[in-house]
Amino acid sequence: MTAIVWQRRRAAARATWREFAARRGGLAGLIGLAVITLLALLAPLVTDVSGLDVTRATARPWQPPSAEYWLGTDHNGRSVLLLTWWGTRVSLVVGLAATVLSVLIGTVVGIAAAHFGGWASAVLMRFTDFFLVLPSMVLAIALSTVLPRGLGTIVLAIGVTAWPATARLVRAQTLAVEARPFIERAQALGGGHGHVIGRHVLPAVLPLVFVNTTLTVASAIVLESTLSFLGLGDPTRVSWGSLLHAANVHGAVSQRAWWFLVPPGLGVVCVVLAFTLCGRALETVLNPRLKGER
């Protein structure tokens, strides 16, 4: 690739960034995400893991917030602040991993359905439509019940249920790109499937996929917290959903223990809002049709 191409790409990236940074919502979301990621990464360096161990908890259970325990203690006498902080890690990792899986499946199915056409495409789209109408949470519950409990299962359950929307989107975009004359030219010059998909279709589809990814992370994190809330999460790890599961099972509502309920849920809301704001801002920047509207 020549230097001019890279120069142009750098200029395009700078222009995109300038436009993105001009949107207050998107910028706020990005800053929020940076802060949350930093906190998640710092957790093992700044705090002591042994505080998560039930057997070593020394404090009185169900303590309201105090100078020593800023967010009070849970039913085992562990610090809620520490639990919520560590919960960030699992929620982020599961959300991101599940999204990568679902976007990967969706992109492959979408491009394949649009590029190859014929009966294979018809079968793929029938399959996608079937999964699209299937209530994703019911399927995710079924999958995580029958598979052994663990982070991998949750990731798989979310990834396998969340892909159809991406597949539809990618298929539509691929069809639009492949209708253009330069694809015909590439094929006339002897470009095979690999060349057309890799060099022409993918670069045109990826920005859209990227936006879709940001928005999918948000719903993946909500789905993760819901599955963990139902008790389907990894029992050995602390996540926001599993904290709320514990709060529900041990009667935090009847104990009026608001300090145990509010922080994990607020964590979910902050992360989901941050991803949604970023995704919407990116969508407006990368999709020229939305500019100037709404």
């Binding site: 079937f130 109408v133 019911v138 519950i141 079924a142 819901t226 809330f229 309920l261 949604t276 709404r294």
Partner: protein, 318 residues
Amino acid sequence: MIRHLAGKLGGALVSLLFVVALGFVLFRVIPGDPVVAMTRGRPVTGDQLAELRVRLGVDKPLPEQFVDYLTAVLRGDLGTSHVYNRPVAELIGERLWPTVLLVGTSTVLAVALGLWLGIRGAWRRGSRSDRISTGLALAQWAMPTFWLGMLLSLATGNLFPSGGMRYPDTPPDFLSQALDVAHHMVLPCLTLIAVVYAQYLLVMRSSLLEEMHADYLTTARAKGLRDDLVRRRHAVPNALLPTVTLVFLHLGLVVSGAITVETVFSWPGLGLLTYEALTGPDLPLLQGTFVLLSGAVISMNVFADLLYRVLDPRVRAS
């Protein structure tokens, strides 16, 4: 028209068969030996295991099991729950009505609220009330349903019952029973509405925004119609069309919401039944609720598709 109808119904039938087959794969093939999973952590002898296998019919080869399962489901037999030790179909029948009541009431209210706010927002686009209601809708969309339910229950204190559907000591006459159920339904209903209405608001808002610059609105205004008549008679009916289908398409979301809301408030419906089945784990029961909930959502989608053709002459003509 009839050909189209037959095609749609045929497709729906295939989807329903898919669901039933998926239920078999999920609950019979993936878990391996269901008998081992059922008896995990309990002392059982080899003879008991073998007897249980024969009783459940899992001693036969898989294809034969599938045929047995398929004929049973088609006859309406969804197997026996081993936690309740009763037929799954009977349990589902008992729990169906509370869910229909809860989901129905909250969907109707959420649709009304969402459409009203959406129309207002689009008509006065960019105004303060539009920005507030859209922002609020986005924030509520980010909230996990069950968390909102727990917060509501925490915030209202003893004002509303914290769970269940009725008190055991309510007089048996219709009026007091109905009032008691309504009293229990306030919080679960509010939670479901809060989570679901945002979808309808955003859809209605953007669909009305697309109609805003249409020529027929200019014509209507040029005829001298008042602003709210232009909105009510001309813009809203056209913008409603895509929204109607989306109401039904989003029913999957409502079903997901119902599972967690019923878990939080111990509302004795299908959602709570699903939760009880997954904590067991009671695989035949979970299989039953899986097939039923998925089947219901798929049927609703087909219904939405057909309804759209009835409502929109443009689709009928093409």
